[in-house]
């Protein structure tokens, strides 16, 4: 079978799920006739009609709220945020309304909120964000952030079938750079399960999304130049998080670093570190280290963006320090 891109894999999942279940429909800004800012939904309106691919006014709170209402009634909305940066406009709706609906009112809210995320694309402060940590702190939401085309498809299908609201972060740097061959048949990747992207024995890099690829590149370099065997864990799901996979890799290599593209303070790396501390501290031979963005809004100029975001050389530097510790 032919390789398809990460972006095409998402589209394939949307098409298959819309064909499988008439309750699935898409909503968002410019997703219909135009096919979305990144063309993820291209061709969907022609295929499924205006009733199932709905162009909305510019009102993230409005259509995320409307998705919740439709989801209560048994429909399965998939909402696109044109850039994930605009999820903050729907923050109240997601955290106060959607996330609490099942708990406080026994109202199911099966919906997907998806959108292009992340940097390395010279998008500047408002088209490059990684706001996942802001939602990790909200019980009632689920968060996935795939790094491969296969996972992009399989997790999207799982997200659409999930009985709760799933925030589906798509890395726009990976949209057309990453390709994969889709497994045959109904390819669903379970939410909450990490993936070992590379086996290793000397140290572990726990990461997700675009930095999975940075970590793999670093691992390759560390193997060639230092003879280090580096394990790379791709979390794939952030909420729920695969604690078993985290503990397993700690117990295997005893040296762990966490890499993410989001800023450091209050970030997901801190949460993972705390979990390791509480559940397998005794198996560590070194402190858990973090490689993250600097705590600044992401600047536009290439020299600035490259300095702020984690690069392969940063991962290599920290891994060497960790290996020597």
């Amino acid at each position: 079978m032919a390789e398809i891109t990460y972006l095409e894999a998402i589209r394939e999942a949307l098409v298959e799920e819309m064909e499988r279940d008439p309750e699935v429909f898409c909503m968002g800004e410019d997703i219909g006739a135009y096919g979305g800012a990144f063309k993820v939904t291209e061709g969907l309106m022609a295929r499924f009609g205006e009733h199932r691919v709905i162009d909305t006014p510019i009102s993230e709170a409005g259509f995320v709220g409307a998705a919740a209402g439709a989801a209560h009634m048994g429909m399965r909305p998939v909402v696109e945020l044109q850039f994930i940066d605009f999820i903050s406009c729907a923050y109240d709706m997601l955290t106060n309304y959607v996330a609490t609906a099942r708990y406080r009112a026994f109202l199911p809210c099966p919906m997907v909120v998806r959108g292009p995320s992340g940097g390395y694309v010279r998008g500047g402060p408002f088209h490059s964000q990684n706001p996942e940590a802001a939602f990790l702190h909200t019980p009632g939401l689920k968060i996935v952030y795939p790094a491969t085309a296969e996972d992009a498809k399989g997790l999207m299908k799982a997200a659409i079938r999930d009985e709760d609201c799933v925030l589906f972060f798509e890395h726009k740097y990976l949209y057309r750079r990453i390709k994969g061959v889709m497994p045959a048949g109904d390819h669903v990747v379970p939410i909450g399960k990490a993936r070992t992207a590379r086996e290793g024995t000397d140290l572990s890099i726990i990461t997700y999304a675009a930095t999975v690829h940075k970590a793999l590149e670093a691992a390759e370099q560390l193997a060639a130049e230092d003879g280090l065997s580096v394990e790379v864990i791709d979390l794939r799901s952030l909420l729920p998080m695969d604690d078993e996979a985290i503990v397993a890799t700690v117990r295997k290599t005893h040296r762990v670093m966490i890499v993410h593209e989001d800023t450091r303070t209050g970030g997901i790396a801190g949460e993972i570190t705390a979990r390791i501390n509480e559940s397998c501290f005794e198996w560590l031979d070194a402190p858990v280290l973090r490689v993250t963005a600097h705590d600044v809004p992401l600047p536009y100029a290439p020299a600035l963006e490259d300095f702020v975001l984690p690069q392969v050389r940063d991962i290599v530097t920290v891994a060497r320090h960790l290996a020597r510790y």
Partner: protein, 384 residues
Amino acid sequence: MDAPADSTASLATGVGGRRPTPVDLPVQGGYAARLPRERKLELYRWMRLTRTLEERLVALYRQTKVVGGLFRSLGQEADAVGSAFALERRDILSPLIRNLGSMLVKGATPVEILKQYMAKGDSPTRGRELNIHFGDLDRGFVGQISHLGDMVPVMAGVALSFKLRGEDRVVLVYVGDGATSTGAFHEGINFAAVQKVPLVCIVENNGYAYSTPTARQTAARAFVDKAPGYGIPGVVADGNDVLATYEVTKAAVDRARAGGGPTLIELVTYRRKGHAEHDNQSYVPDGEIEWWAANNDPIDRYVQWLAEHEHVTPAELAALDEEVQRQVDAATEEAERAGTPEPADCLEGIYAEPPRLGAHWYREGVRSAVERNERPASWGTHDG
């Protein structure tokens, strides 16, 4: 049944500020006129039940049996009851904090309300949410959240599902005068208007948002003036006239059902109690509350109307009042007997999967996380 002509003029200069003059709606549909006598008595009964139940809640609040705040709808019973009365059983509404009457009309029971306020384990939300914040899709009401305006987009989405599936159902969403200032209200109404979904939005203008008078909420002449900005019809009616609220809502509901899209209705009423029971209403001009109590009480007005137009006798109403009283007494007894929630129930149902979260280890009798953990053989030897 009209209020005296100077009813609002006397208030116009107070801090309560400008308030649209209640207007009696021209009875275009004649819906209210066509209600049979027993249905008209039902309207009375729902209003009376609302007031009696709230009075009982005040007593329980003073006995500290209501564990949180208490929100009254005194003086607003007509707008809640009359509007909800215009829905069919299959239709869905989302109430606001002063729409106890709407929920009762939709099938919420007094014992449920009492158990909610008293945070009982078998309350509709199992002690998770407060007051009238609960819902039941089967009976046709969706529980609100405290973030004002948020229910407008959500209910627009419920209406969208009716449109997409071709279901013959209508949605009614209530907001207060204050919520019209929120972004969510704007986004929700705009979305509903563009999508032409079967949504009716009622703005209950009761003069105050907490302590803030309407003049500090909007520079518009009336809330209904916002409707043309969304390209939808707007209508204003006297919210203290139960038949008028029924009339305008029924007309809007029928229009939505026929595919005509949303309507914005402003019901002009007056909040005679504070935001909640603790609020001493120090910000209200002297005499304003008393004026409304004496001259424009929705139940008093309707009693007079029933006597004049339907020859309803005081004995008939007294019998209804007694029945309501018995119902509230029985509900109170049942609610007081109910137990409190099992604490660990709070870990259930945040997700469909997993259905239950584990309690933190220090709630499970383990003395320390480290103690529980396995350790490598070399642990503690400092020789790596």
